[in-house]
């Protein structure tokens, strides 16, 4: 969805110009905020490591929900495509049930997406090899040893009108069947996992065979190499799997399967929940994946609380690419909203929307006054009031004071629900979201530690 229309000059256009969706790469509304994100161009770094490496890399990217991660990953994909890499970009949660994800689900999703990208690009791999891989899956998952049995089963299913665009190669049908069943069928999911679990290494080997067979063909098409970018994997639901050890779903995927995540014969970028970098296992994670990047918030205030004009100006640019700030908002309103967003892009855009909507409800007068913007912020405050459980306020007061978070589950939860935001100068530091700071419970807790 490219938006090349000029910035909106009336309330209706303005409201529809401030959407929360990530920007596609090349969208003129994109604003370079790297300076206030700690001075690092995250996309540039990730890309350089891929471009400069002769062997496959596995990198991690992390950042708060709504900090612009997807936008940046789409930029990464675009840059690599320009550099002649074949990029397979996909959102993990489209294939996998994030409430109940195991590592093999991810592998299956990867090979399915890979196969799809190859066939969309007209890249064929050696038929005998492809058939070998196909029959391996058919036998392990469904016990189909015979090709005709499998073909018959798949044929009827897909002719019964499942929503798959025909004609599909048989391997695509089989992979779609497996991933579909894992995503939706509770019983069959258990069954498939039971069969695949003991086969993790053969499974990786099959995928690597597939990649190795594809690579010469990919290169024939003029590409340098293959890159997998897996977005939204950080949405994997955080659950404690073992009360005694505190082992979580995040540990199970990123730590216990770190070697396997790195074992694919392609460049891979995985998204990781930001809370992992604040868990007790952060060092372990960084050890397993030395190449990781965290996309911090846009800094709108310094550690001492004084405003950071550069970050505020950056967000003003973000606003100006969408709406005509001069004619729609009274002076100072954008700066106010930028400050109150805590530098979280999505909340900033949200606040712009609330301001426009409230102005409309109040009669539609422009330019919109500061008071209306304050009411918009009031709404955001109430929303954060809902998100923060009572037991967090004391800890939040400490974060506000010390600008640091402890590595424990409660602090992870606070990063996860965005009541604590991370910034970067040279070092990482944290602060409490401006909306949370306005809550009476927070103020009480803060007064008590002062």
């Amino acid at each position: 969805m490219m938006n090349r229309t000029p910035p909106a000059t009336n309330l209706k256009d303005a409201y529809n110009a401030v959407l929360l969706d990530p920007l596609q790469s090349g969208d003129p509304r994109w604003v370079d905020c790297s300076q206030v994100r700690g001075g690092t161009d995250v996309v540039g770094l990730l890309a350089l490591r891929i471009e400069g490496s002769s062997h496959s890399t596995a990198q991690l990217i992390s950042g708060h929900r709504g900090c612009g991660k997807s936008t940046e990953l789409l930029r990464l994909a675009n840059r690599l495509e320009r550099e002649k890499f074949l990029v397979v970009y996909f959102a993990a949660d489209e294939d996998i049930d994030m409430g109940d994800l195991v590592y093999t689900d991810l592998l299956l999703s990867i090979i399915k997406r890979l196969e799809r990208t190859l066939s969309e690009n007209g890249i064929k791999i050696d038929e005998r090899l492809s058939k070998g891989i196909l029959m391996w899956f058919a036998e392990v998952v469904y016990g189909w040893k015979d090709e005709t049995v499998m073909e018959a089963a798949l044929k009827t299913e897909f002719e019964l009108g499942l929503n798959v665009p025909a004609p599909l190669p048989i391997i695509a049908k089989l992979l779609a069947r497996i991933t579909g069943q894992i995503r939706t069928g509770h019983e069959i999911r258990k069954d498939i996992r039971l069969k695949l679990d003991p086969q993790i290494y053969p499974l990786i080997e099959r995928i690597n065979e597939f990649i190795r067979a594809a690579l010469p063909e990919i290169q024939k098409k003029g590409y340098q190499d293959l890159v997998l970018i897996i977005d939204n994997l950080d949405r994997i639901v955080l659950r404690v799997l073992d009360e005694k050890t505190g082992r979580t779903t995040h540990d199970a995927l990123y730590l216990e399967h770190a070697e396997q995540l790195k074992a694919l014969d392609a460049h891979v970028v995985y998204t990781v929940p930001i809370s992992m970098f604040y868990s007790l296992k952060a060092t372990q994670l960084a050890g397993a994946f030395p190449n990781y990047e965290i996309l911090p918030m846009i800094k709108v205030a310094e550690q001492d609380g004084s405003p950071c004009q550069e970050g505020i100006d950056n967000l003003s640019d973000v606003a100006e690419k969408r709406i005509n700030v001069q004619s729609l908002l009274e002076k100072g309103v954008v700066d106010y909203l930028a400050e109150k967003s805590g530098g979280m892009l999505r909340d900033f855009i949200r606040l712009l929307g609330y301001t426009v909507e409230l102005a409309q409800a109040e009669g539609g007068k422009i330019p919109i006054s500061k008071k209306t913007a304050e009411n918009a912020f009031r709404r955001l405050i109430n929303e954060y009031g809902r998100m923060v459980p009572d037991e967090h306020f004391k800890l939040l007061a400490n974060v506000a004071k010390n600008k640091q978070v402890r590595n424990d589950t409660k602090h992870q939860a606070m990063l996860y629900n965005l009541s604590v935001l991370e910034y970067m100068n040279r070092d990482r530091w944290c602060d409490v979201h401006p909306a949370v700071r306005e809550l009476a419970e927070f103020k009480n807790a803060y007064r008590q530690i002062e």
Partner: protein, 532 residues
């Protein structure tokens, strides 16, 4: 065959139910508070401005208020946008699919902008425990913009919205506004009036029970939000008791217990005798059902003391009746008869027809147990006549059930079956799970008598499943004993023994006189097993 288990007694209530229909506009447009009018204006602005999908949330505790506010929005936006209300009447596993399904069946032709209001999703969001619908919702946020081209507003009570904010953070992160409607005091007052005059919740049909429960839940949330004065406190205790009774009838025992205990706490603080007694009586009945007879006795005696202190004759008679039930369960038939007779006498003095009807019913059971079927018939019939006069469906159904038992004992299987079915139908209409379980069990015994062993097993197992859901131990024990009987008839001594052992253990736990009988059956079966 074991005797039919003792029928559960309903919370006593005034006869004659006013027609309660929450759809009735109880609040005039001009009566909406200025604060809420501003919020409605904001929602209208979102709808007016948005040209693509937007996700909004509206906090509103009371379903009746939700409907009224949604209707008001419709008026405000007439000619500008089509407001489509999707009302969910039961829990759903996928909100998005449920909305799409509802829209599919909507055949109106819409021209122009559509905004969708979703009401009733809170039924999929319990206040505690797992909420799989929220997990599903959290993951489907990318699909929402693909499925809807205009604004979607999800209306939820406070607690459910908070759960959603915390447990579906990815969807929540996509919100374009949370609009908070405050409780409307006038609406609350008129709802309490209507609902509290109409305490005969036992006889509401299942959908009406659910609807009433939702309205009561909303009232409770509203009370928590506004400051609770003494008058509100009294009303709240009554609301909690009434909701507790509905949850009890719908078989949600744990929730019922929580509500009664809450009500008891408030009414004791306020020294509200009426609601205190009600809560004590209901908690006693729950304890009785769960097999905790010691606790049940304590609660009933507690109620008796309070009633005696206040010279509350009706309260005394009710408490004695409950104690009579406990005496009956313990096998002390003389004491039970004595207590039921007092109940009957006081009820007749007071003109408390429902009290008379239940006392007659219990006396009928005693006569039946003593083998005096003629007297039992007379008593059941008399009880039935009163219930019919009152329009008390639950009472009628119980009488049919007992008359069915008599027909069965007299060997008239056709008539027994007919009566059980009539009883079952009414219980099903009322959604009364305990009653349904009883009827199914008796139909099973009846099926056995006609030689249909397979049918008998099926029905009794179904009855046992419901009793297990309810945690009703005596129901489970009776079903087990009957299943043992069926196994033995089929020559499966091992199976029969297994069932009777489980039944015996439960009967002992319940201190039921049937334990002895079960023990004898067990011994006999053990001998049979050893000799073969």
């Amino acid at each position: 065959m074991p005797t039919d288990k003792l029928s559960k007694l309903a919370v006593e209530a005034k006869p004659g139910r006013t027609n309660f229909t929450p759809q009735q506009p109880l609040l005039g447009e001009t009566e909406i508070s200025p604060q809420n009018r501003d919020v409605l204006l904001q929602i209208a602005s979102l709808i007016r401005l948005a040209e693509s999908f937007r996700l909004g949330f509206v906090k509103c505790n009371q379903p009746v208020q939700c409907r009224q506010m949604a209707a008001r929005l419709k008026e405000m936006l007439a000619g500008e946008a089509n407001i489509i209300s999707v009302e969910l009447n039961e829990p759903v596993s996928s909100l998005r699919r449920a909305i799409l399904q509802a829209l599919e069946s909507d055949e109106s032709d819409y021209v122009g902008k559509r905004a969708i209001m979703v009401l009733g999703f809170e039924q999929s969001v319990p206040s505690e425990g797992p909420a799989p619908a929220l997990d599903e919702l959290n993951q489907s946020r990318d699909n929402f913009p693909k499925s809807f081209s205009g604004p979607v507003l999800i209306w939820l009570p406070d607690y459910a919205l908070t759960r959603l904010a915390r447990e579906a953070p990815d969807l929540w992160g996509w919100r374009s506004g949370v609009f908070e409607l405050a409780p409307e005091l006038r609406l609350m007052a008129s709802l309490v009036n209507v609902i509290m005059q109409d305490v005969d919740t036992d006889n509401l049909s299942l959908p009406l029970k659910r609807e009433r429960a939702a309205a009561l839940e909303g009232l409770i949330s509203d009370y928590q939000e506004v400051k609770i004065g003494e008058r509100n406190g009294q009303a709240l205790a009554g609301v909690l008791n009434q909701l507790g009774n509905l949850r009890y009838l719908l078989g949600e025992y744990a929730e019922a217990k929580r509500l009664y205990e809450n009500s008891l706490k408030i009414s004791q603080e306020l020294r509200d005798k009426k609601e205190t007694l009600k809560a004590l009586g209901q908690l006693g009945m729950l304890a009785e059902d769960m097999g905790d007879l010691v606790e049940a006795r304590r609660l009933f005696q507690n109620g008796l003391k309070i009633s005696q202190k206040h010279g509350d004759k009706k309260g005394i008679s009710k408490a004695l009746h409950h104690l009579g039930n406990l005496a009956y369960l313990a096998g002390d038939l003389v004491e039970a008869r004595h207590l039921y007779n007092i109940r009957l006498k006081i009820s007749e003095e007071l003109g408390d027809k429902r009290g008379s009807s239940t006392a007659l019913h219990q006396l009928g059971i005693l006569a039946q147990d003593a083998g005096d079927l003629f007297e039992a018939h007379r008593l059941y019939q008399e009880s039935l006549n009163i219930s019919q006069g009152l329009g008390d469906k639950r009472g009628i159904s119980k009488s049919f059930h007992q008359l069915g038992n008599l027909a069965y004992l007299a060997g008239d299987l056709v008539k027994a079956r007919l009566l059980y079915h009539k009883s079952l139908e009414i219980f099903q209409e009322l959604g009364d799970k305990n009653g349904i379980s009883d009827s199914l069990g008796q139909l099973g015994i009846q099926a056995y008598a006609t030689g249909d062993l397979e049918g008998a097993r099926r029905l009794i197992q179904k009855s046992m499943r419901i009793s297990k859901e309810l945690g009703n131990k005596s129901g489970i024990a009776i079903a087990l004993k009957n299943l043992s009987f069926l196994e033995e008839k089929e020559g499966n001594i091992g199976g029969a023994l297994e069932f009777v052992k489980q039944a015996e253990a439960l009967f002992i736990e319940l201190r039921s006189p049937i334990a002895e009988q079960a023990g004898k059956d067990r011994e006999r079966l053990e001998k049979l097993r050893d000799s073969s």
